[in-house]
Amino acid sequence: MLAAVAGCAPAPSLPPGYVAVGLENGPITLDPRFATDATASQIGDLLFDGLTRLDDQSRRLPQLAARWEVPDPQTYIFHLRDGFRFNSGEPVTAEDVRATYEAIRDPRTHSPKQQELDAIEAVDVLDPLTVRFRLRYPFAPFLNETGLGILPATQLAASPTKPLAQPIGSGPFRLLEFRADDRWVLARNPNYPLGAPRLAGVVFMEVPDALSRLLELKRGTIDLVQNGIDPDSLEWLREQSNIAIATAPSTTFQYLGMNLRAPPLSDVRVRQAIAHAIDRDAIVGTILKGLATPATGLLAPTHWAYSADVTTYAYNPKRAKELLDQAGYIDPDGDGPAPRFRLSYKTTVVELRRRIAEVLQEQLEQVGIRLDIRSYEWATFYNDIKRGNFQLYSLAWVGVEDPDIYFLTCHSSQTPPQGNNRGYFHEESVDGLTEAGRQTLNLSERRRLYGEVQRRVSQLLPIIPLWWPTNVAAMNRRLRGFELRPNGSYVSLKDAWVEE
């Protein structure tokens, strides 16, 4: 039977000039008003334009807007470029910008992004190419909301509250067709004002299994796989003659979260001891096969607000034991099996996470801390974390853009269920600094303030930085010009080409 169908094994069914990208999970929806998953925004960069775009230092650069003014801290005026058109033919105007933002702000839409736009008082059209945002209070992180993909006002009027199946954008590619959650075909927009793509199109395919993705890559039916690559596969990938591998720093931050409400974790010395007890180089080298950099804090070195003037915790089990003794947690039997105390560590059922958990368990055992590993399916795990129901856990912040994330994670008002200060960290100076940081628009003042925040946070350790994972791309050698972006965006496909 196999021989019978062998005769009809099709050649890869990609039209010429197209490349295929393998995804672990397809986007739930591409509608910018509703898209919250990372994949949707990474693909969205090819379909939609925002007023501004992100550069590799996480700063904002012009895109739809040629320039903007901030006449006072609560007013932003954007001047749109002439020449952007939606792929339905209509020009992109200030009215489309207003309609997109108003759709999200409208409570009937139930957009998950409504909260992010909380600072906006009103959006006004001054003329067809000028739009003004008035804020309710000075809010420095506001510019981050200007990357939002703009939809045509006409399409929004037709579907005000339901996610659009085929949203119309003005970007370098347009959505040609999609099939039942597993295939999205993007075709080139030859009239893109910032330079038409050289590729004729991109097909995004959902291939959930990591191994199958790599085998498709080897076979040649897929040209690009970005992240979701098991570190153990790297060696095999490097041996394949038709595959090239690229790596670049990311803005993802993997950390150890702790519940500061109760002893022993309420004592900063215990937290510092744990930081000294972890040998991050060993984990990065052996389990992650070098695909990460040990982290010093939430902001990666590429970030404009990154400060290196922080306290770091080198692997030092002796120092860890000293700190624990000082904190009053003596090891009952010296180097014997009885621990000083136990901690529960929650993680997901993903294999990589569990292996890392086992290494952490072993490393902490060396200084007399017994770790009980509890692994859960994702929604159950996340439920516990959001409710503050944990002692230790590990998670990652993906796509860190504005240093205001320190407000969301460290300000005392942002404890669950309100915000992301899940460990219940409370420090007056950090509260004051993060509040000031979101109010001043002066970039060098913000850099100074957040530098101080990074310094304090590194001393008080509400979370323990683990590492910044490296972005990895495995691609067919025929794909040229694709560059990894720190936030994992596929946007550089607009400048890529194929060489047969």
């Binding site: 062998a6 919250t36 909260q115 597993d182 291939v207 191994l211 929604a379």
Partner: protein, 307 residues
């Protein structure tokens, strides 16, 4: 026959309601909040409360259950919490793929087990029989998630006879159907062989041989017809299990079927979608059981029900 079928269908209704109720309770009571999953990290508490109200998730459980049943009576499966799309449409977009995969696996299993089981039963303890038994053990023991990638490596990478994954044509069906059907083929082979050997000792077989019938006629016309009955039983049970086995195979081969949709729905706590998927799967089981019972009647006249 018709009253028999009608009665079975009527009896199926409480089964389906029972399963639907159980799943409703389980998915609502398990920890994990769909609103959390939907709105993500930065949502305000007020937003979540409002969304929960809009979706009707803040009503007491019995009220939600009653509303669900009343929608069900109108064949309205609701909308997916996560994507907002109608559940029925989402399921109907994926169900044919699962049917194709299960059907292909079933067909392959029969094509392998039929001749192999027959040959093994005809010549017990021969070389062929030993080989078939060894293959049967292998087929049962090797799990899907190992067999799948091994088949891909051999047929898609080395030989390039078949594609790696995805659903696009008959060639794409070959490897996933083989992966899924292997376990079933193993069981059916052994079942057929055992049933045949059992029947070959019966009196009417001796009579047929004494009458001078050829061995082939004895085997195919007399023994097989009677041996098929226990095989039909196993077939019915295993086809149900086949639906469950599709989840792993669908993941490995990127097959856009119902199994993966159900899994994703559970992971995102998408209540209406989970309930819809389970309902469709339950109805499929009921239908398979009904077909099995009808097949009994066809194969064995003694079992035709007299009302």
């Amino acid at each position: 026959m018709i009253p028999y079928i009608a009665r079975r269908l009527v009896l199926a209704v409480p089964t389906v309601i029972g399963v639907v109720t159980l799943v409703f309770l389980l998915i609502h009571l398990v920890p994990g909040d769909p609103v959390d999953v939907m709105l993500g990290e930065t949502a305000r508490v007020a937003d979540k409360v409002r969304l929960r109200h809009q979706l009707g998730l803040d009503h007491p459980l019995p009220v939600q259950y009653a509303r669900y049943l009343s929608h069900l009576a109108r064949a309205d499966l609701g909308r997916s919490l996560y994507s907002g799309r109608p559940v029925r449409r989402m399921i109907m977009a994926r169900y044919p793929a699962t049917l194709e995969l299960a059907g292909g696996a079933l067909l392959l299993a029969l094509l392998i087990a039929g001749p192999l089981g027959l040959a093994a039963g005809a010549r017990p303890n021969s070389m062929l029989d030993s080989v078939s038994r060894a293959l049967a053990v292998l087929g049962s023991a090797v799990p899907n998630f190992y067999l799948g990638p091994m088949l891909i490596l051999l047929f898609a990478i080395h030989l390039e006879w078949a594609p790696v994954s995805g659903r696009d044509g008959l060639a794409h069906l070959a490897l996933p159907a083989l992966t899924l059907g292997m376990g079933m083929a193993a069981i059916l082979t052994r079942m057929l062989r055992a049933a045949l050997l059992d029947r070959l000792h019966d009196d009417y077989i001796r009579t047929a041989r004494a009458k001078g019938a050829s061995e082939k006629r004895v085997l195919l016309k007399h023994a097989l017809r009677n041996a098929v009955l226990p095989v039909v039983t196993v077939l019915g049970l295993q086809t149900g299990a086949l639906l469950a086995g599709t989840i792993i195979t669908e993941t490995i081969f990127a097959w856009p079927g119902l199994g993966r949709l159900t899994l994703l729905a559970i992971q995102t706590r998408d209540y209406p979608l989970v309930q819809g998927c389970v309902l469709v799967i339950t109805l499929s089981y009921v239908l398979i059981n009904l077909i099995t019972d009808v097949l009994y009647g066809v194969v064995d006249p003694r079992l035709r029900v007299n009302s």
